[in-house]
Amino acid sequence: MTPRMLKQTLEEWSREARVPGDLADRALRRRSRLRLTRFAGAVSCAAVVAAVALLVPLVVVPLFTEESISQVGGPPVVVPVEPYRQATPAEDVLTDTENSPPETMIAAGRVAVSAYYTWRWRTVAGRKLFDRTWYLLNPATSRYEKTEWGWVEVAPGLRWAAVLEKDLPARRIGIFDMETRQVRAWVPVDHPVGGVSWSPDGTRLLATAYDDYPDLDNVSVEERRCPARVAATPDDPLQPPFQMISTSRTGFYVVDAATGTAGDFHAVDPCWTENSNVRRDFEWSDDGTLIRERSNVWKRPDAFLDLEGRPHDAPPGYVSSESKAGVSPDGTLLAGPDGMPTKVTELSTGETVGHQQVLQLLAWADDRRLVALGCADTCGNEFHNGLVLVGVDGGDMVQLSVYRKNSQESGTWQPVLTLR
């Protein structure tokens, strides 16, 4: 087997393509639709701006009639959030292996599926949008309920959620009461936001701002060129000036949930890191003191900012993880990298302590068990997958959800795990 054979195979295969005769017409027709709708979009944006300008003086943050709680030396508390404290769940494992998407609560150990979304591509004005329909857990009934929100993020403890209205990016953030199923407060923002993330203690929100829909297909995004910059790692060459980015991300806010107030907007240069995602939501560092941009480049560590948006060194003890689960709750084990079989290593020595026949390690249920993406049967099809609970040693596997027939297919559901 030689490079010549690979080249010949590719050439031979490519000759099977048929060339349609109307390609130029199709491209020109798409351009026309794009221009028309962009004009319509500009009009509607102006209308929204006008409406917001009228509304701003009238914004009454709390929607509840309950009396606000005084806070010494600060604005009144409108949402009674409390720092997250882990409690022992009444039932260790909850499964729904009957319904896909799930109808009843899925949980294992300290984590639960707090929400999930189904998705489909939608074409608007010649641009492809990744459109989510969100389903949110109702802790009172332990069932999932369909919502109309454009984005949902449940806080640790499952008591509160942050919600954004369709269509993203949104000009206000809702603090949603999971028990009453009402928005307790709206937090207006000058720069529209497309994603929100709760701090590890569940008292603050990190809202990522975008100036366009954050879930565009990357071909539908206006690309921008980045200036040349220095190498990010010793073995990485100088990044040339032709690096292109295709994100509309502009910066972030840190929101105090209790008072329902957004701090200052902090602009962040989109060329700051090499990342080809269109949606590039910021995350909290594990200790909640810094902001993290998760790397999507293999072997490239995550990057950090302080809460003012200035680049910052990684926090002490930071461990670069190649799985979502990362470090175990007791700090001794590291999950990943992903890819069957996965493995868990001892953090201090790097020694492997167990392999698991799963695709991805998603979250630690406790110090010895993980919620993972497992696949059906003998794993002949990696996209025929679902949630499982698996021990560090690979044993005691428990199926938590139905195995989706094709996780890449439009309409399929994608879970979001949260500490409960």
Binding site: M1, T2, P3, M5, L6, K7, T9, L10, E11, E12, W13, S14, R15, E16, A17, R18, V19, P20, L23, A24, R26, A27, L28, R30, R31, L34, G126, F130, D217, N218, V219, T233, D236, P237, P240, F242, Q243, M244, I245, S246, S276, N277, V278, R279, N296, V297, W298, K299, K324, G339, M340, L359, L373, T378, C379, G380, E382, S407, Q408, Q414
Partner: protein, 176 residues
């Protein structure tokens, strides 16, 4: 200004498409793993982008190619809001055997290529069909040389896993 403004520019665009469509369609076909419908959609989308920039592109064909590559290798993954994980599939074919002729091997190789992820296939097309060096591949895909190198390595490994007949495929060591 950009975009097509008059009949003369539209004519030049049509001439460009007419002349280059066969080559571009072949590339789209490979990138989509031999899916004619997806390939047409991919090329049509890229050409629509060219229309909006017509007049300010020095090399429209290079631009079309870059758009198609980037569309197909989109690092942003749909599932789990995070990174892609490549997982070896169960081989469809029996273990390698002596006497498999070259035509048959090419068919096996084609099937294995079709089962790669779009990102893996794009890197192999750029490296082994278009014979581009790693830094040029990185420029087109908008990623680092290290990423190109690791992706090529994993792609070849996956080809070998998918089709044991290709076990002696050691292209990454042959071309540098």
């Amino acid at each position: 200004m950009n975009a097509i403004r008059d009949d003369a520019e539209e004519r030049r665009f049509r001439e460009f498409v007419s002349a280059r469509a066969p080559a571009l369609m072949r590339l789209a076909y490979l990138l989509t793993g031999g899916d004619q419908h997806s390939a047409e959609d991919l090329l049509q989308t890229a050409l629509a982008k060219v229309v909006t920039r017509w007049g300010r592109l020095d090399e429209p064909e290079a631009y079309v190619r870059q758009v198609m590559y980037r569309q197909q290798i989109s690092w942003w993954r749909l599932a789990w809001r995070q990174r892609e994980t490549s997982v070896a599939d169960v081989p469809e074919h029996p273990a390698g055997r002596a006497g498999t002729d070259e035509a048959e091997l090419r068919m096996i190789l084609r099937r294995a290529l079709a089962r790669l992820t779009p990102r893996q296939r794009a890197v192999l097309v750029l490296r082994y069909l278009e014979d581009l060096p790693e830094d040029e591949v990185a420029r087109i895909l908008g990623c680092s040389v290290g990423t190109v190198r690791s992706t090529a390595h994993r792609s070849l490994a996956r080809l070998r896993t998918t089709a044991p007949e290709l076990a002696d495929l050691r292209l990454s060591e042959v071309i540098s």
